[in-house]
Amino acid sequence: MLPLCRATALAAAGLLLFAGCNNNPQQKPLHEKRPDGSPWTVYYWTIPDEIRSLDPQFMYEEVSNRILEPIQDTLLEYELMETKPYRVGPCLLEKVPQPVQNSDGTVTYHCALKPGVLYHDDPCFPGGEGREVVASDVEYAFQRLSDPVVQSPFFSNLSDYVIGMQEAYDAAKKAGGKLNYDTMKVSGIEVLDAHHFDLKLSKPYPQIIYWMALHCTTPVAREGVEFYDGLPHADGPKGRIKVRDKFAFHPVGNGAFQLVEWVRGQRFRLVRNERYHTKVFPTGGWPPEREAVCRPLAGHALPLADEVQITVFREFLPQWLLMRQGYLDNFDAYKDSVNSIVTSIKALSPKWAARGMKLSTSTWVSTFYMSFNMQDPLVGGNRKLRQAISCSYDPRGFIDLLYGGAAPVAEQLLSPGIPGYDPNFKNPYGFNLEKARRLIAEAGYPDGRDPNTGRPLEITLDGVATGAEERQLMEYMQRQIEQCGVKVNVIENTFARSDEKQDQGNFQLLTGTGWGADYPDPENYFFLFYSKNFPPAGKNVSRYKNAEFDALFEKMATMENTPERMKIIKRMNDILVEDAPIVLEFNKANFMVSQPWAPRIHSNMLLDGRAIKYQPVDPVMRARLQPSWNRQPMWPIYSAVAALAAILGYGIVLNRKRNV
């Protein structure tokens, strides 16, 4: 009987262990109640990978943005509710500065910082108390952009316009590669007083206001950069030597939240900046379907949540599990996950809708397409052939495979939300098989066959394919294009090889190309087809060259969004569509599922991390619903213990019978 007693004891121990188990993976909030007695609100969010840097002048990727944006405000910020088209509004600046044309061709922007904006409290400041954000911090930021040590990816763009950046960079290079911040100033930034500065450009560049909404131009406290040097200092308890963080991993921000905990590779904890008053909740412009949620919040002080816990998830499955248990507040459905959450009519599955979850669909400011090599003698020199291939390709199947049918088919280069985007425009060379067959005949290849050889015309399709899914997508493209009669030879490349081919122009048709806009201006799309932007220095992968297009681009690039500019944009779009250097595919879409206690209140895809401060959370509703989604049944444990005991007992009986 001894083994049975042991099994019972083990089972009892197991039961005790289970009884003590709590399946909530989130950290305990910092507080339960606010000082006024109301519940402390926590928002639970995710990022898909570890971040690379939080240095505003260096960092330029989406994942790090999610963490930096709530911590660090920018000079300007996209208006939360304005997405058709997107528009920038004030943030650290009091208003959006207007350009003043100077007689020498230069342009000046008079900028005024909001007074009383404070940095977060940090040991880098005297007494640990954050000081006010001043104009010299903006000057310092531009110096950092020009410092070769920082290796800012923004430098080459901004130095073309901001006076004195290139000179500061050259001086630093001459002085051994490091910028002297006391002597090597950027002459294009003139500090007038604590809150006013002038930004001087060598030529008109209206897009500069969008750069002011990016982190690269945000003011930075010099104390923070110099304090967090990554070197050992006597900072430890009782003067012990301790290695300080590098500035890239210890931001000294001024945003709505302060980073208070960061467990590398795992999670972040942000807490409300009590002294934040740079922005308030929008007082109008709410979309009709969200008005009920937004109206009571109008003019409310930000941030709405007291604490934000952000977890690093590299896999989709655990995210969705935690969402179902109510331990995450929203979930970006993507690829395979879409089909399990969304019905064929693009609505949330009834099971989740019954829980009060909501689905919102937004379109990223991006356009994806296949690129023809315009320098290739075959496809580059035959417009009708390109048009025919464009007509034979139906992106819908690709979108179904990749985005569960959520993404809209791209009819034009500009994506929705960009000034000049025409929602009524239909690509004349969109999917139309009849037209494709007619055009291929007009191109000199009836039924897709080369009249000289009688065999199907062969075209190569290059792409990055390192997995089964990518191969499946490329095979889909191959089948689609072959509908016009040509033979498509697929070449699967690694990322490195594909990059190399782009740089060398060594392809006929290349898939996986496209653009996610840096800022919502048509210039940021049309520059992709400007002839002075050939790779490797530029992004004109097609190597498209059209004198009229170039002239129009040069003209529109420096214009404000006037009716005349809109006319030019329309003409450029027509030229591009007619020349067909690309096969348009889709605008990337985003499905977001939100918990009933944390409704999504906007569809602004340019804000991302900055939108957290506007996020409402109802902790009372969460506390009510969460336990009902997490009941622990006991029958599986009893069944498992009974099964084990039965097997053990049977084994003993067997052994006794045989007496072995």
């Binding site: 083994p3 262990l17 289970f18 003590g20 188990c21 709590n22 399946n23 909530n24 993976p25 989130q26 950290q27 990978d49 570890e50 971040i51 690379r52 840097s53 330029y60 070769p148 290796q151 800012s152 990816p153 923004f154 080459s156 763009n157 590098k246 890239a248 991993f249 467990v263 590398r264 590779g265 795992q266 977890t311 690093v312 998830f313 590299r314 896999e315 499955l317 655990p318 995210q319 599990l321 935690l322 248990q325 690694t494 490195a496 990059d499 996610g516 840096d518 220095a537 992004k539 997490n630 009941r631 622990q632 049944p633 097997i647 049977y650 084994g651 067997l654 052994n655 045989r658 072995v660």
Partner: protein, 330 residues
């Protein structure tokens, strides 16, 4: 044995050199430093920014050997001033360098990652071993019966299921439907934090259980056919005592080789389980490095793995010779 050990030690640098050469060849085919730089610097990076990034890290030098006349603008002085030899020089002194993507000191990163990995793998290793031995002894206890056959069949079943299926089952059923454990996460603050490790440890045990039980069962079955077992039975030793004392003790010698070889590798954690459960160990670190093209991390991990593997195999050989006097290492 001493001469064997010396020879083994002399082989070690050559093996590691070979492993690293292979890693470099594979990586240089799949991922050029320029691509890595573009990934890190983002889409706005110009060729000049990329060049600066490469230069700072010494990645603008030739990959293996600088042969032929030096081209204008080519970095590196001398035939061996190449990425491969420079990095090998650093690794030889255990200077792991910094991450290419985050710029963090890898020594610190590895030290931090080793603890969660060990917290996951060590309990799974110990408990898994005990459970496998227990199940194997039970199958021997009921040998040649339907229960034994069913047990072997179940083991083959366990071995046939891919690890991913166990992970998905564990998360979707045990963590989600039954709500017994957190489906994701890790912390080590108090005893209650152990709840984060229970499910991943249990899954790691189950993933390896089938193959281990089958192996141990075969070893114990061989032992139970020996003369000393028959003698013990004849002397009236009970079947439980026979198994737990005589068979287990003698069978353990054969198990040492299998078990000890895994010991040094425990520190590296588990790629899949750590990634799916968000445990910030070295397995998770390597997965992330592969996804983000962090060659510095991949290089250092491969180097450490090779060393640990050689240590594991050497210890096994020695223990084998110690445990079984018939084995002579020469």
């Amino acid at each position: 044995m001493f001469s064997y050990l010396i020879r083994r030690l002399l082989y070690t640098p050559l093996i590691i050199f070979g492993v690293m050469l292979l890693t470099f060849v594979l990586f240089s085919v799949l991922q050029k430093p320029e691509t890595m730089a573009r990934t890190v610097l983002g889409k706005r990076a110009t060729p000049k920014t990329v060049q600066d990034w490469l230069h700072t890290r010494g990645y603008d030098k030739p990959t293996f050997l600088a042969t032929g006349p030096k081209k204008p603008g080519q970095a590196g002085e001398g035939m061996f001033d190449t990425i491969f030899f420079n990095e090998m020089r650093k690794l030889a002194t255990f200077n792991l360098g910094v991450s290419d993507v985050t710029g963090r000191e890898l020594k610190e990163v590895f030290q931090q990652g080793a603890i969660p990995s060990l917290l996951l793998t060590l309990p799974a290793y110990v408990a898994g071993f005990l459970m496998a031995v227990g199940f194997a002894l039970f199958l021997v206890f009921v040998r040649k019966s339907a229960l034994d056959t069913a047990g072997v069949f179940a083991c083959v079943g366990l071995m046939s299921v891919p690890p991913m299926v166990y992970i998905i089952f564990g998360q979707a059923v045990i963590a989600l439907s039954f709500n017994y454990f957190p489906a994701f996460g890790y912390e080590m603050r108090s005893w209650s934090s152990i709840r984060f490790l229970l499910l991943p440890v249990a899954l790691m045990i189950v993933i390896n259980l089938g193959s281990e039980v089958r192996l141990y069962r075969a070893v114990f079955l061989e032992e139970i056919g020996q003369d000393y077992v028959r003698t013990a039975q004849a002397k009236g030793v009970s079947s439980v005592r026979l198994l737990l004392v005589h068979v287990l003790k003698n069978g353990m010698i054969a198990l040492i080789t299998y078990v000890v070889a895994q010991l040094p590798l425990l520190i590296l954690g588990s790629l899949l389980v750590e990634n799916f459960f968000g445990i910030p160990g070295l397995g998770n670190l390597l997965t992330s490095a592969i996804q983000t093209n962090d060659f510095a991390v991949i290089r250092a991990t491969t180097f450490l793995t090779a060393i640990l593997y050689i240590i594991g195999l050497t210890i096994t050989d020695i223990l084998y010779a110690v445990a079984d006097p018939r084995i002579r290492l020469s």
